[in-house]
Symmetry: C2
Subunit: 658 residues, 2 copies
């Protein structure tokens, strides 16, 4: 697989003479090569609809919520405790709590860049005030290690997370640098930290890696932003070292932190799913900057295999609670789906990089699926509670955590305000704040609209500015209307993604003509005049979906999808049964008023047996079938505790009854 | 539920004026009340067949293997290191490694009692020589805590396992005391330890419990053996304290160590499955000695619910690797079956106590199922390798651990010689050595043969001695011939258990007559003369078994059983497919020469898809059906790495093909 250089950065690609003065956008990822070029959050504005509401909720609640909790629990206060000399006695939170402060700051930085919130900017700077004095003269910055009375620096690379924390520091600094410029004080802190990492772990330094990948993807991007090859060199050292057993063996095995085999040799993602996806994202970035198409091909193949065999219908990744890890191929149990919110975000990060590199719309499809069914599932409607794990089957109604209670990360609880390990809320916040960047891309002569939301998209093509106005009620409605609001004289193309789930049913209307479109990227060639309209109609009938026969956990069950949304049944919508496990699909779904979906289902009697295995175990239907509503999975649990299923058994195990 | 006193100990039951001089047997459990009375290993001898081979393997290999490994790894050497004053620097193994030394000693003690092996007795005494000087003047005995440079005594009740270690010390001392008498030196060590526990944790002592239940069941039995009510009082304190949140909350939740709710209030076993079953066994013992039928009823109901909803077809318990714990009701995934060998043993312990208390043959059925399909599955044919977890579905061929390598406890490996946490091998050894005790019981006027093996059973009835000679090739053959070899003038009964799986098909032949028998306890009334024969014929046709419709993980699959054996398919027997996951059941099983079982199966093609969920995912049959052998689950993996399934999909997801 060969990736062509970006048109506008082709000259700086292979030899990495990056120029920080070259046009950069407010993007989390700025590859120097690739089929598609990212657009920044200053170029893509979401005005209304599903994702605008989520961004507003982030603005009004999520970011503030994260800040309040980390103040309350003393995770931010750890920095003050260092300055006051009382950190050994007073330190709060887990060994990696600094990272969540940095992820909060990344969210703040993108949000300041997005809407210019001066109050939020002041809060960001106030955090910098507290962090800056903690940095040591050689650039080391961590509240947990290195002082008298603490464990020595880098004495526990397996679990200490020092490099992981730097990674999130650097990513926050990328957000700040790309929205405020490289002279920003926080960027300078990050630069000193990055230099320290290169000093400490360089060719003559510690010959090891961090137990949690993250520094790799951060160093490459920080190198891109600052134009410093040294940081990318260091990322390469980390990527190349991992997989050779440089970390200790642990009960989960070295696969947990991907130190079991080199990434170039792997065939599929494995081990801890957040670690695996973060590493994959970093390796892709490295491959792009170093022209290492073999590495890119290896990671792409790993992701392809992961999507084919180890990904939930929601886009969720990670089938094991133990080790928060991927399971084996086709091991996708609904009830034990870990599908950590952060792994979903790691998947979006990785698939976005593959999308930019290859232009394959398949990766944009995965991003859409994961955005709507993992990212959007985590936060509750209040913006102040979150799922850490995203089960596809809730057997018993979950517990609502007490107000102010810190939850176990993957408990039987409903969305919780905070967790002992609380990586997910800040990860959601930073992703939602930068979401605009994932919606559209450009090429030398075109703009590609990849995710659909009402708003504006601007891009520079051939030295001129073009702009599109997108109007849609997607995903509630399948019609997307794209109007040219600014154009250039030259011919250019408007690309629209038709998701694979649309099959052959999408319709494109342009210049009075209508035609079947996609799946894949559908391009309309210009030249365009202001006011020209391209309209895409995606089919929003409800799809009945069956699992690959190798998925043991899903045999005899079906799921329902509508547009990009995975649907589910909740017990609050099925008052005739005590648990949704008593329901059996007995017909085809219908879409009613306002898009309400329902399916005929039977209720079954479930006699208690002393022993659950017998020659005949057929269940008996109780009464006739009734219409049971299906709701978007991402909103489940917002009406109080309930039982829930995404995959619902068919009635093949039922015999007629009373 | 009311339990009647044992005939021979009725006078000493409720008020616990136990008399250590009263007739006791070489039994692990000697309840003072109950429907059935245990027979000791000196009364039940197994001569040949399945379990005799296992006992021989224990004699020749398993016990020695455990001793060699613990010498090699320094777990036994820890006691020497204490004496030499170098324990802080030199201690080896996990915090609970002392317990495995004691479990080894329990196995040795039973084995010495069973076959009078003087060389083994000398090895036992040599261990006592090394342990005795480690005990402190106040009775405290642990290599891990309490010395300068170590954590203080009882400073980590959640994870420190000090009381757990005492529990195994006491159980080993019960084995020694019941085979060698109470004057034994090791019994005296245990008595000092038990007194110390009562001093430290008594009414005025530490108001807490051990993170791993075990001391409870051990204290009751040690109290029974020594006639000391104090130990049973202490067990009561521990049982009553647990469940009130006396231990710290942990990520797994307090249910992990059953400290989430009092055992009297629980409805089903939950949390760590070994902890849960050990606690249940101790609570039953306590209920028996204290006439607490409410407690007995509560635990019985918990086990009944656990058998109905949380037990694998093998008898295995524990559906989660995370926390080695029970899952929710009907959460029984084959591929993630943890089904720890020790949990199976804990289940045998608990069900044996319920059997003695209630006389309900259901519990003997469970013991049989668990003996044949969990206990017997763990050790390999070499007696020097063991399964820790007992999966019901091996997706990829397991790795054979390198010789001398310590394995992770539940890795993807085949049977391993030893584990970092190596509770299972010693647990198998102690159980197999004392297995005779589980085979038969007596009442005032009868002997009950509960598990079938060729051998001799003796009992005292009405002041006289009776004896039975049992001859059978069970489970290879269903005929059990019981001959009276010693009798008394009075009428007495011979009871034979007909397992529930026999349905209405078992046949009893007695005095020239033949009749349908059971299920349950079938009794033949005497008087008997020497040479009288009772013959039971159990049906050994292969049974096709289906799961309760609530078990999502097993939908569309069937399992096969023959007699007490659960069968499975191994890839070494299906050379036409690369993995057993490609097989589909396409007919009914047949039994051929020498009991060889086979089933017609189809092979299916498994096309790779980029995404595993679609409108149509039916598999295509490749060729016609072929006869595929099924083998006993307990012997799987003995012919090298293979893939394996207990539950095999039917062909309902297959369409005809090429």
């Amino acid at each position: 697989m060969t990736v062509s250089p970006h048109p506008f950065t082709a000259d700086v690609a292979r030899n990495l003479t990056l120029n920080p003065q070259s046009p950069v956008h407010s993007v989390p990822v700025q590859p120097s090569r690739g089929v598609l070029s990212p657009l920044g959050i200053e170029q893509v504005r979401i005005d209304s609809g599903f994702w605008a509401s989520m961004q507003t909720l982030n603005s009004t609640d999520m970011i503030q919520h994260c800040e309040e909790w980390m103040e309350r629990l003393g995770w931010i206060g750890n920095f003050d405790a260092v300055v006051d000399g009382r950190i050994v006695a007073d330190r709060q939170g887990r060994e990696f709590s600094d990272s969540d402060v940095y992820k909060l700051m990344e969210a703040m930085a993108w949000e300041v860049g997005r809407i210019g919130d001066t109050a939020l900017d002041a809060r960001f700077e106030a955090l910098v005030d507290r962090i800056e004095p903690v940095q040591e003269p050689d650039g080391y910055l961590n509240t947990r290690f290195g002082r008298t009375g603490q464990q020595p620096r880098y004495s526990d690379l397996e679990w200490g997370h020092e490099l992981y924390c730097y990674g999130h520091l650097l990513q926050a600094a990328v957000a700040r640098g790309r929205t405020r410029g490289l002279d920003d004080r926080f960027v300078k802190i990050a630069r000193r930290a990055a230099d320290h990492v290169c000093d400490a772990f360089g060719p003559d330094g510690i010959q090891s890696v961090c137990g949690h990948a993250e520094i790799e993807v951060a160093l490459v991007e920080f190198g891109r932003m600052t134009g410093q090859a040294r940081y990318i060199d260091q990322a390469k050292l980390f990527v190349d070292r991992r997989g050779h057993g440089v970390l200790k063996d642990i009960e989960f095995g070295r696969a947990y932190y991907q130190d079991d085999e080199p990434i170039r040799d792997s065939v599929v993602l494995r081990g801890h799913s957040v670690r695996a996806t973060y590493l994959a994202a970093g390796a892709i970035d490295l491959s792009i900057e170093r022209g290492d198409d073999e590495l890119l091909g290896a990671v792409r193949s790993q992701m392809d295999n992961t999507l084919a065999r180890r990904t939930y219908i929601t886009g969720g990744m990670g089938a094991h609670h133990e080790g928060e890890s991927f399971g084996a191929d086709f091991e996708l149990p609904s009830d034990r789906a870990y599908a950590e919110t952060c792994a979903g975000i790691g998947s979006i990060m990785t698939n976005y990089r593959l999308l930019l590199a290859t232009g394959d719309m398949k990766y944009a499809d995965v991003i859409e699926r994961t955005m709507y069914n993992v990212l959007a599932t985590s936060p509750g409607e209040d913006g102040r509670s979150f799922f850490y794990a995203n089960t596809l089957h809730q057997r018993e109604p979950g517990i609502v955590p007490a107000i102010g209670e810190v939850s176990a990360r993957a408990s039987a609880s409903m969305r919780a305000p905070w967790f002992a390990v609380s990586c997910c809320p800040t990860n959601v916040a930073r992703t939602v704040a930068s979401l605009g960047a994932y919606l559209a891309t450009s090429t030398a002569d075109g703009v590609q609209v990849l995710q659909y939301a009402t708003g504006e998209i601007g891009a520079e093509l051939m030295g001129g500015a073009v702009a599109l106005r997108v109007v849609t009620d997607y995903p509630n409605d399948g019609t997307v209307t794209v109007t040219v609001s600014q154009t250039i004289d030259e011919a250019w193309t408007i690309g629209l993604r038709v998701p694979a789930w649309a099959g052959e049913s999408a319709v494109l209307r342009v210049r009075g003509e209508e035609r079947q479109a996609g799946p894949g990227l559908v391009e309309v060639a210009g030249p365009f005049a202001v006011g020209d309209v391209v309209e895409l109609v995606l089919p929003l009938d409800v799809r009945v979906v069956r699992p690959d026969v190798r998925v043991d956990a899903l045999r005899g069950q079906v799921a329902f999808e509508r547009g990009p949304l995975v649907l589910c049944v909740e017990s609050v919508d099925a008052p005739s049964v005590s648990k949704v496990d008593e329901l059996r699909v007995a017909g085809t779904p219908t879409v009613g008023e306002g898009g309400a979906v329902s399916v005929p289902m039977l209720s079954i009697g479930l006699p208690d047996r002393a022993w659950p295995f017998a020659a005949d175990t057929a269940a008996v239907a109780v009464g006739g079938s009734t219409q049971v509503p299906l709701v978007p999975y991402n909103r489940w649990g917002n009406r109080g505790p309930s039982t829930m299923r995404v995959w619902i058994p068919t009635s093949s195990d039922v015999v007629a009854g009373g």
